[in-house]
């Protein structure tokens, strides 16, 4: 596969490490009353869509950036690649 890095352009997927669902960015508030329940869901529950999926890839043999890749799990078509840091900030992660 080829991942079109938003800064560096198209790179072979062999340079990357796959992590999984991009929902891992949405780390719950540790002080929430139901923190245990939220962390349980965060840690263990994932969707496994046949189709469009947002997932985290790490450019380990590259610039060390984490990327959010929108990929169709049926066709492997990649429709969007973003810097995870930008995504995290846009989601309002404030520290």
């Amino acid at each position: 596969m080829i991942i079109n890095h938003p800064i560096l352009g198209p790179r072979d997927a062999a340079e990357f490490v796959y992590l999984g669902d991009a929902s891992l960015i949405d780390r719950p508030d540790w002080q929430a009353e139901d923190a245990a329940e939220q962390f349980y869901k965060y840690g263990y529950l994932r969707d496994n869509p046949a189709g469009q999926h947002q997932e985290l890839w790490y450019h380990e043999q590259g610039d060390r950036s984490w990327l959010v890749v929108t990929r169709n799990t049926l066709s492997h078509e990649i429709t969007q690649v973003e810097l995870a840091r930008d995504v995290a900030r846009a989601k309002g992660r404030d520290t």
């Binding site: 780390r27 950036s65 984490w66 840091r85 995290a88 900030r89 992660r93």
Partner: protein, 1008 residues
């Protein structure tokens, strides 16, 4: 009725002078009637089964064998039937030979694509005794018992027979060819190529596509599996622009080769279509040479293309009829290839059997070559599409049986006509080579007009198909489509195609009928000659309920092995479609997967063989260690000294005991460079560390070190190490050797995805610093000789867990940490790696007065067990902080990875396992790692399991075996004697639960 001349004249198979010669003028090449496109000036000697033969440059092994009259070339897989050459290409099911000798011997090489070289040695395979008299041919007579599903039905019972009887027999009888059982002497390489347009196949449409792209300025790769580009243009007598097609091909190739933006790759098979325009290609670099001269035999290329044109052509299929597998029975298109390209005929008295117009072209070419043509047999009730003076036309007939054993001698038709022949050309129509279109989600579609599957469904991204592969079955159509498809691809990429004329050529007659097998046949009619699958087998598969094509394949083995049924699949599934009454479109094909043709495992391995399987990392003191008796152990990619053998030491324990004792009594030195080192910088570095460690680091003072524990988000411990604060905004983290990469990755995840607004930067410095542990009561004295004056090493100025920047040996910058893994007074000192090898010499020299020793990973392990420190043996990925007695290190007062889930009830149970020390009650016994603990008096079973032994060592300091282990509520069971059982070793012994701190439990030494 068309005249012969109108469908093209075979012009290039027999030169004027060759026509005047008798066959004997090609010394021994009895079936050579011309030179075709070979180079008769380049004479090649070769042997087949030891028999000396000659051929020409430009021959394949198959063409040379045929030229020498060798029509019997092998025995079939299952029934050991005599077999000849069926095709002239990579689809060949029969002509598989063993090439070369010794370690270089390669089985299952297709003679039809093996380029002849001088000195080539080939052997036929799959027979016991000689090729002519194969003792295993008896299986042919047993064939009624060996039909489809035979193995499934027969070898099921009795069960006991499997291992002793059935398996050895099957193993001895099965398999094609034999391996040399020696290491492959050749080398292989890989590579990466990039292009705008990849053109797969250099036939008429491929050449046109490449030309259109090249002239527009695009970067083009043109790959063809053959050594002579041109495809069918080299095999036919068809004309392009009024000249022989092969000449047009040669001129076009020359033009392409002269252009900088074109990479012409012959002998290169594009074997797989992968995601996003990536293709796999195998280039055979030295297979056509007698010797590789140290160069890679083959290169496996990964081709990154923006667009691709698949111009893979088509493959002819046979018609199934009784005994249609005799040597001498060949596909009609292959007959033309041998005749026109190589100047070779398979026989002297031939018949043509066809269900389509194209087969007639073979009759035309054979007649022009002077072969005695006994008849053209057409299954259709049609007028002859060409006029062949003096040739018998058997209209609406088929061959029902053939006579002969090691070669065809006669054929019988459905109308009872018997024709004496020594070769037969058969054409059942042509299948577009759709394989690569299916490597992702493509599903071929049936096209009625040509009675064949064409590409359908979703093609690989960026791929378009042109020419015969796309169902354009005539020359003029293929040329035009090649250009048109390439232009569309280029326009898509933003190039402006250069307008060019399409060369002049004709659309040769190509009508055909959907006729698959001669139903009147009474004898076995072969479909898959490689796997010995007959029409009857397909019928049986149907009767027994294996009706889907995928079931048919598994039940009968149709379409398996090296040729993947390229000639067999479509006729077989057409027969299945007749049986089920379902249209062929609904019957479908099996799914084509890469590789298109076989790729040697060696090519997939590339250079990754032996010690080159992965990189080797050396510690900075490696050279010194080598020179000082070190044995090395692989730790990931690292090589670490495990111990240093001194003269007189006989076994490893001698060295390890000495090293551990000397360290505890005086001083030892160990290269600990392999531990991960990560520089953490930024004004929020402390806040960041608080989040990734379970304990707090923002409060750590500059010049101090703290032990840190890292949890996964699920609350399990995954790494530990010490982190030093070198400056307000600068920490140096150490990780375990094994987890250095993972921890770094997780730090980047934390700083980019979880806390993206912290000012913190991480960078690895693992390789940058040569770091040495200097441990033992004399370590401070030793370092006083190393660290430059002015730095106070006293316990007051530089206490346990202090760190600082120092200089050593007169000014070289270094980092000093007072940390201890051994439990002794100890330091770690780091210098820039370029000084590492010299540094250990300097340390040893400074230690001479104290009898300093270097120690390896084994002594390190002994001392850490004596001290009760955890490593990966204990941190298994299932271990909680609670298990190792560090539960209080998980802060609940701050946000950090893993602390929320670490509070889960099951993870903090009081009766959970706890890390303890263990020693044998009988001190003479050696503990065994992996033993499980059973409470005294209870039965040794899993229900009574109390935990397990994680690490054991012989303690030279205590004089007996010691161990670490996890025991249920172990912290409350100190002094209890428990049973340690190892059913694997057949041992059990009483062990006492003790503190994990065997040495200096109060930690006085390391603080001293």
């Amino acid at each position: 009725m068309t005249q012969v001349e109108n469908i093209g004249t075979a012009v290039n198979f027999v030169s004027e002078e060759a026509q005047d010669r008798t066959p004997t003028s090609f010394a021994g090449q009895v079936n050579r009637v011309g030179t075709g496109l070979t180079n008769p000036g380049q004479k090649m000697s070769f042997t087949f089964n030891g028999r000396k033969m000659t051929g020409f440059g430009g021959d394949t092994l198959a063409s040379a064998l045929l030229a020498n009259g060798q029509t019997l070339v092998g025995r079939s897989f299952k029934y050991h039937r005599p077999r000849g050459i069926l095709t002239a290409g990579s689809e060949e099911p029969n002509a598989l030979v063993e090439l070369r000798s010794g370690a270089a011997q390669e089985p299952n090489t297709r003679a039809t694509v093996t380029e002849l070289f001088d000195g080539l040695m080939a052997k036929s395979q799959n027979h016991r005794g000689s090729l002519n008299f194969d003792m295993m041919a008896v299986t042919d007579f047993a064939s009624p018992f060996l039909a489809a599903g035979f193995y499934y039905k027969t070898f099921m019972w009795p069960k006991a027979f499997w291992e002793k009887l059935y398996e050895p027999i099957i193993r001895a009888a099965a398999g094609l060819g034999s391996l040399s059982m020696q290491e492959d002497p050749d080398s292989y390489d890989k590579g990466f190529l990039h292009c705008d347009l990849l053109v797969i196949g250099a036939g008429p449409s491929g050449l046109m596509a490449a030309l259109a792209a090249a002239r527009s300025g695009a970067r083009v790769i043109l790959a063809d599996e053959d050594f002579l580009p041109g495809g069918r243009l080299n095999a036919e007598g068809l004309e392009v622009n009024g000249a022989p097609g092969s000449m047009w091909a040669a001129n076009t190739v020359a033009e392409l080769a002269s252009m900088d933006n074109v990479r012409m790759m012959t002998r290169t098979t594009v074997y797989g279509a992968y995601d996003h325009g990536v293709y796999g290609a195998l280039e055979r670099c030295t297979d056509h040479l007698a010797k590789s001269d140290g160069k890679p035999r083959q290169v496996l290329w990964r081709v990154y293309s923006k667009r691709a044109v698949l111009a893979a052509g088509s493959t002819e299929r046979p018609i199934a009829f009784g005994n249609n597998d005799r040597p001498g029975i060949m596909l009609a298109g292959a007959v033309r290839t041998y005749l026109n390209r190589f100047g070779v005929v398979p026989g002297r008295e031939m018949a043509v059997f066809t269900n389509n117009d194209d087969g007639w072209q073979t009759a035309v070419d054979l007649q022009n070559a002077g072969v005695e043509l006994r008849a053209v047999i057409d299954s259709r009730d049609v007028d002859a599409p060409v006029h062949l003076p003096g040739v018998r036309y058997l209209r609406g007939q088929g061959i029902v049986n053939t006579i002969g054993r090691k070669g065809v001698k006669a054929v019988e038709t459905t109308a009872g006509v018997t024709l004496p022949v020594d070769a037969v050309a058969v054409s059942g129509g042509w299948n577009p080579n759709v394989h690569l279109t299916c490597h992702q989600r493509g599903r071929p579609q049936w096209r009625e007009e040509i009675n064949a599957f064409v590409p359908g469904g979703v093609l690989p991204v960026g791929m378009a198909v042109a020419g015969a592969a796309n169902g354009a079955m005539t020359l003029a159509a293929a040329l035009a489509e090649g250009q048109a498809v390439a232009e569309a691809q280029l326009t898509d990429l933003g190039y402006r195609p250069v307008a060019a004329d399409i060369p002049e050529a004709q659309d040769e007659p190509s009508k055909g009928a959907a006729y698959w097998h001669v139903g009147e046949s009474r004898t076995r009619a072969w479909l898959d000659q490689q796997n010995d699958v007959t029409v009857k087998d397909v019928k049986q598969s149907f009767q027994e309920g294996f009706r889907s094509v995928e079931h048919l394949k598994r039940y009968t083995t149709l379409g398996m092995a090296t040729d993947q049924g390229k000639t067999a699949n479509i006729p077989a599934l057409a027969i299945m479609s007749e049986l089920t009454g379902k249209p062929i479109q609904d019957t479908g094909t099996t799914i084509f997967r890469p590789p298109y043709t076989p790729v040697p495992i060696g090519a997939f391995g590339g250079r990754s063989r032996g010690k080159d399987f992965r990189p080797t990392r050396l510690t900075p003191s490696h050279r010194w260690a080598e020179a000082n008796g070190a044995s090395f152990v692989n730790v990931g990619n690292w090589l670490r000294a495990e111990w240093y053998t001194k003269p007189g030491e006989k076994v490893w324990r001698d060295s390890v005991d000495r090293e551990a004792l000397a360290t505890r009594t005086s001083v030892g030195i160990c290269d600990v460079t392999t531990l991960g080192k990560i520089d953490i910088k930024g004004k929020d570095a402390g806040a960041f560390l608080d989040k990734v460690y379970s304990n707090t680091f923002s409060t750590l003072k500059v010049g101090r070190v703290r032990y840190g524990l890292m949890l996964r988000e699920d609350g399990i411990c995954y790494d530990d190490g010490t982190t030093a604060r070198m400056d307000e905004d600068h920490y140096v983290m150490t990780t375990t050797t094994a987890n250095a990469v993972l921890v770094y990755r997780n730090l980047e995840f934390a700083r980019q995805c979880l806390w993206p607004n912290l000012d913190v930067h991480v960078i690895s410095t693992t390789d940058g610093w040569a770091q040495f542990a200097v441990a033992g009561p004399k370590s401070r004295d030793l370092l006083r000789k190393v660290v430059d004056e002015g730095f106070d090493l006293s316990n007051e100025a530089f206490p346990f867990m202090a760190c600082g920047k120092v200089t050593v040996f007169g000014g070289t910058p270094a980092r000093l940490f007072r940390i201890s893994f051994s439990g002794e007074l100890a330091f770690e000192i780091a210098v820039p790696a370029r000084f590492g090898n010299s540094m250990i010499e300097g340390l040893m020299k400074a230690g001479e007065a104290f009898d300093a020793v270097p120690y390896g990973t084994e002594a390190l392990g002994v001392m850490r067990i004596e001290k009760g420190h955890c490593t990966a043996n204990e941190l298994t990925g299932q271990t909680t902080a609670h298990n190792i007695g560090l539960g209080r290190m998980v802060s609940q007062k701050k946000e950090c990875i893993g602390n929320v889930l670490s509070r889960r009830e099951e993870m903090i149970r009081e009766d959970d396992v706890k890390l303890v020390g263990l020693r044998p009650v009988d001190r003479s016994l050696g503990l065994i790692a992996g033993s499980h603990f059973i409470t005294k008096g209870e039965a040794a079973n899993m229900a009574n399991d109390q935990g397990w032994m994680t690490s054991v060592a012989w303690s030279p300091n205590l004089g007996h075996s010691i161990g670490l282990g996890f025991v249920k509520s172990g912290d409350a069971r100190m002094g209890e004697v428990i049973h340690a059982v190892s059913p694997v070793h057949g041992t059990e012994m009483d062990v006492e639960i003790v503190s994990a701190h065997f040495v200096d439990p109060e930690g006085e030494r390391l603080r001293g």
